[in-house]
Subunit: 254 residues, 3 copies
């Protein structure tokens, strides 16, 4: 930090198990990745190359190397897994993961319908190869699950081998754990937290109000995902109680 402020909330440090910031890169150039790392690398725990953008962006190997050389793990969005699975190309996907030397993979069913036992088998198989992050929740705003179902799915996926489970929101933050309007489904989140350890969940929270809501509920060291590269610094100030939104929340806790 550039100067000393007293009574700043404790933040875990990298490599951290909780308090993760997962960033979505949806097509940065190599120089833009360098710029991002310069500013926000020390506050970024893991980067997702959003959905299937890795299919159409050039310089994929160089980009992966750039992130890794800076100690930032990187993985392909879950939609890529789904795109291979729906085409009966799962084995090809495993080879792609090897070819690009991926250490993490996302398993999701946001766009495809898949039997949950089968999803858990994919998690189990892949977890012998890489670290698995699995995602619960549909990208279709009309598909809403009851809380008990979220819990059941999350539990089964963790059991099958997922390191973390992601609660779906998309880039926009308007499905899954949020209403169309972006508002948090608070009852759902509360109920999930009665059954699933909070450090095991990454909440997708692309909108500022969503980040604030989770930080006020769970604390500075909540795992948040789908953060835009330019929003990592703003998020870090919110975690530290140094932006208007959480300024008084943390002061009042003392």
């Amino acid at each position: 930090m550039n100067y000393k402020l007293n009574n700043i909330p404790n933040r875990t440090v990298k490599p951290r198990e909780k308090g993760l910031t997962m960033v979505m890169d949806k097509g940065l150039s190599l120089r833009q990745v360098e710029d991002f790392i310069e500013v926000a690398g020390s506050h970024t725990d893991i980067v997702k190359l959003g959905w299937t953008t890795s299919f159409v962006t050039p310089n994929l190997k160089e980009k992966l190397k750039l992130y890794r050389d800076n100690n930032i793990p990187v993985y392909f969005g879950g939609t890529l897994f789904e795109a291979f699975v729906i085409r009966n190309q799962f084995d090809d996907y495993r080879k792609v993961l090897d070819e690009y030397d991926m250490k993490y993979v996302e398993v999701s069913d946001g766009s495809i319908e898949i039997n949950h036992d089968e999803k858990c088998e994919y998690i189990s198989k892949l977890s012998s190869q890489v670290t698995v992050i699995s995602e619960v929740g549909s990208k279709d705003e009309k598909k809403i699950f009851a809380p008990y179902k979220w819990i059941k799915l999350m539990k089964a996926e963790i059991e099958a081998g997922s390191w973390k489970v992601i609660a779906e929101a998309r880039e926009g933050g308007n499905v899954g754990i949020y209403r169309d309007s972006g508002e948090v489904r608070q009852g759902l989140v509360d109920e999930i937290l009665t059954q699933i350890p909070e450090e095991t969940i990454i909440w997708e929270a692309p909108q500022k109000a969503q980040q604030v809501w989770f930080i006020e509920l769970i604390g500075s060291n909540v795992n948040l995902g789908n953060i835009a590269p330019a929003e990592v610094i703003p998020l870090e100030t919110i975690r530290l109680g140094l932006r208007g939104d959480t300024f008084n929340h943390f002061l009042n806790m003392k």
Copy 2:
């Protein structure tokens, strides 16, 4: 592409007559243009320097050169044409086009009131000098034309020499072919398509939901415009059925 996925919709290739992606640059630096080209150059067919931004940005000649050296044609937004015309400086504009060695021009009447015969004369005159793209639709959300009028205007402009006609939406995507809310005027679009060949139209579609709507209606190779530089990669995945929004649309077609 970085790996092999089966059953991807066919995309036309550059230089293409249909399936165009027209990008709006509203003030990129030279290095930002390089970054953009690195990532999205192969998916970008033409760049518009938005409205009159070319008046106030520095390094204009260098920027034009950068795009052209990478085989990306570039043109000044239609508001610049209007700014010259309303000041009785049309001949000056022709000289500006020459001075900057422009190969394309946009003729529009989004901000000025102009007799349509006169607009067509401008199209006709300019088409002897450069390739003309003309735009139909007002930037004023209160000026709404009936479908038959859109068709009449488009037909006359194509006859006068326009290579493509653009359906107005602005940077925001909330006028012209869209309602205030950004929702597509579907009946209008359907009616236009009964009379004007779809490959002749560039639909301004800055919002993701608008891009998805046109891709589902017309296909991967619809011409779309006013795409933000950072949204070209996301758009390409939508065209290919590789983002949640069109994932099932293309699968269901097979």
Copy 3:
């Protein structure tokens, strides 16, 4: 300018006392600052390192140097002042200002409750050290002051030594002088302008419609703040009557 257009509204030139564009940098990298300056440096009067982002961004000294070497003054957002004050570290903040050779400071009470006499004392003390910009208005959308109170606060702060007073809106443009929806509180602004010289006020106006509203009310040379780096060029065209939004406003004035 890259070519000659007649009848362009007069713009003041840098260093200017009115017509200021104040830009918010919320975490640019050094190279991004260079890119910004290349494109928009000549249209930018002063840069604010948003709220407390200077606490968590690296390369702070280098960034400050970059701006200053290009004749762009730079200051820390008011929330940083508040973060020091609430921790009884005001003297530490004065030392930080010295250490970083700051020539400007923002004094605000957007997040903390502070007696107004005390705020004016801070303004007075700091104005012996640096140029003070003070901000009126809360970041809490529920705290709404009557116009007479805005006027009273602004007058007292100017008297205490503020060079300019900022009318609060936040990065989002949805508090202070705006409603939740971003709509201007027009009666409030009108009333303020009957008592406070317009060149003394910087209106935070991050949204385009807000910029347009103030330019139509006050003219090309209104002071506007919280402009995103990529929006400085678009704003400049609006000031010059060269974007659809103000195109006819300025033409009709002739």
